[in-house]
């Protein structure tokens, strides 16, 4: 039977009619709650460094990020972060802990292919594009700022 049963357009319409959709309301709510919770923890860490170690400015921001990155990698290594991510919608991806997770997880996975070509080379397969386009975007914004002085 070489003849098509229906056209591609008809078929793709049938598929999209039957395929369950991602529950947007639930995803948005869990993204908000999980993402918000992670950021609240960050805020607590910030207050802690501010009040106990009397840090401020760039030093304070860096210390907070370092702790969050550490926690993100620790939870990835313990196999907890992917479980949070399963239900978090986008909430666990967007904060800096998600970035840490996206670097740590391929590093762990590809370690079996050696420390150079496995772990180190594959470490940025997920985070690489974010860095490339993040840095490019900041450079473009910087140029616009420089020439037009917004």
């Amino acid at each position: 039977m070489n003849k098509k049963i229906m056209s591609n357009e008809q078929y793709l319409k049938l598929v999209s009619d039957i395929t369950p959709k991602t529950n947007e309301k639930r995803s948005l709510l869990s993204s908000f709650l999980v993402g918000g919770f992670i950021c609240s923890i960050g805020q607590f860490i910030r207050y802690f460094f501010m009040l106990v170690f009397k840090m401020h400015g760039d030093e304070l921001a860096s210390a907070t990020s370092v702790v969050l990155i550490f926690l993100g990698i620790l939870l990835t290594g313990l196999g907890v972060y992917d479980r949070i991510g399963k239900r978090a919608g986008g909430g666990s991806i967007v904060p800096i802990t998600g970035f840490a997770n996206s670097v740590a997880s391929p590093a762990m996975e590809f370690a079996s292919e050696g420390f150079v070509y496995g772990l180190a080379a594959k470490m940025f397969v997920v985070a690489g594009p974010i860095i490339v386009y993040g840095v490019s975007a900041s450079a473009i914004v910087g140029l616009i700022y420089y020439f037009f002085g917004l």
């Binding site: 039977m1 070489n2 098509k4 049963i5 229906m6 591609n8 078929y11 793709l12 049938l14 598929v15 039957i18 395929t19 369950p20 959709k21 991602t22 529950n23 995803s27 990835t76 290594g77 196999g79 972060y81 992917d82 479980r83 949070i84 991510g85 399963k86 239900r87 978090a88 919608g89 986008g90 666990s92 991806i93 998600g98 997770n101 996206s102 740590a104 997880s105 391929p106 762990m108 996975e109 590809f110 079996s112 997920v126």
Partner: protein
């Protein structure tokens, strides 16, 4: 033109062997599967080795069941999902087996069985082993994301089965007979969503089945079971809609291996997939039901999605294939 392969000497599947991961062991068919892994690593240092060890067990076990020596095996036909089918070729190395490596993704079990049965029917070989496998963790990292990356799975996705299945085909008075087969055409209806493999493969099953019914003049109701490979729950629904448009209904007796293998309360969404899915389900539960005569006549239709990560990243649609094997006692 000859589209139906008729096996007049009815080569038999004389023995089967299966092994599965812990998640599959807890599923509906766990008690029919020969051996269960206690963890996904299978006492190995990486998942690729774990996958290979499962396949190696299945091959060794089916040979032991037959009472034969490895040297008496004429041919081993198999493939798997890893790049360059290393699980299969490395197992052939382990036992120094004469080896034909084949690949039609998750339809590999059917491809091996069709080639094996043809060679046995023709009298060119006395026996052959057909085997395939898949592993959730090796497939995830090859096709999708690293395991520990925290992403939310889309609702249409399936879960790659960790498991391996093997069988031995030869001319014999006992066993399950391979009566007819149809080699599927490669069919593409333009699906590009790599998370929706069921939708990509469903038209291929419909095309193969319609061709099989038209050529042989049999009806879906002539079979106890029409068993597809890994369409999953969603793919099965789509397939039933499509084949109705083609003039046949299989609502009465269609079952999908991907739907059978897990208890659907678990988080696999649309069910199982992978080359190991149809291999494990068929060679365990279904084979036993055929052997004891509970099923008299079935159609076994493993399904494959013939994409690669390169083709899907380049925006190509996903071609599907479905081979049909008619089995009976």
């Amino acid at each position: 033109m000859k589209r139906i392969l008729e096996f007049k000497k009815t080569p038999k599947i004389v023995h089967t062997a299966t092994i599965c991961g812990p998640k599959e062991a807890q599923g509906n068919l766990g008690k029919y599967i020969d051996k269960h892994l206690s963890d996904d690593y299978n006492d190995e240092k990486n998942f690729e080795r774990a996958e290979r060890k499962m396949l190696s067990y299945a091959i060794k076990s089916v040979v032991e069941k037959s009472g034969k020596d490895m040297n008496e095996i004429d041919l081993y036909i198999g493939g798997d999902l890893l790049n360059q089918i290393i699980s299969s070729s490395f197992c052939a190395r382990e036992y120094s087996l004469p080896f034909l490596g084949v690949y039609t993704a998750c339809a590999t079990m059917a491809e091996s069985m069709i080639i094996g049965a043809s060679l046995v029917e023709a009298g060119l070989i006395d026996n052959c082993i057909c085997a395939t496998c898949s592993h959730f963790s090796t497939a995830e990292r090859q096709y999708r994301f690293p395991l520990e990356q925290g992403t939310t799975r889309p609702p249409q996705s399936q879960w790659t089965v960790t498991g391996a299945g093997a069988n031995m085909i030869s001319l014999s008075n006992t066993g399950v007979a391979i009566r007819r087969a149809l080699v599927g055409r490669v069919i593409d209806y333009g699906v590009i969503d790599v998370n929706n493999m069921g939708a990509a493969m469903a038209p291929a099953v419909a095309h193969s089945l319609i061709e099989f019914f038209d050529e042989t003049k049999v009806l879906p109701s002539d079979y106890n079971l029409i068993l597809t490979g890994d369409l999953g729950t969603l793919g099965s629904r789509i397939f039933k809609e499509v084949i109705k448009k083609g003039g046949y209904s299989v609502d009465e007796n269609h079952v999908d291996c991907g739907e059978l293998i897990y208890n659907m309360e678990e988080k696999e969404y649309q069910g199982g997939s992978g080359a190991g899915c149809s291999a494990v389900v068929f060679n365990s539960y279904i084979y036993k039901k055929l052997l004891c005569g509970e099923y008299k006549r079935i159609l076994f239709i493993p399904t494959g999605a013939l994409l690669s990560t390169t083709s899907s990243q380049q925006g190509e649609s996903i071609p599907g294939i479905a081979h049909i094997i008619e089995l009976g006692v």
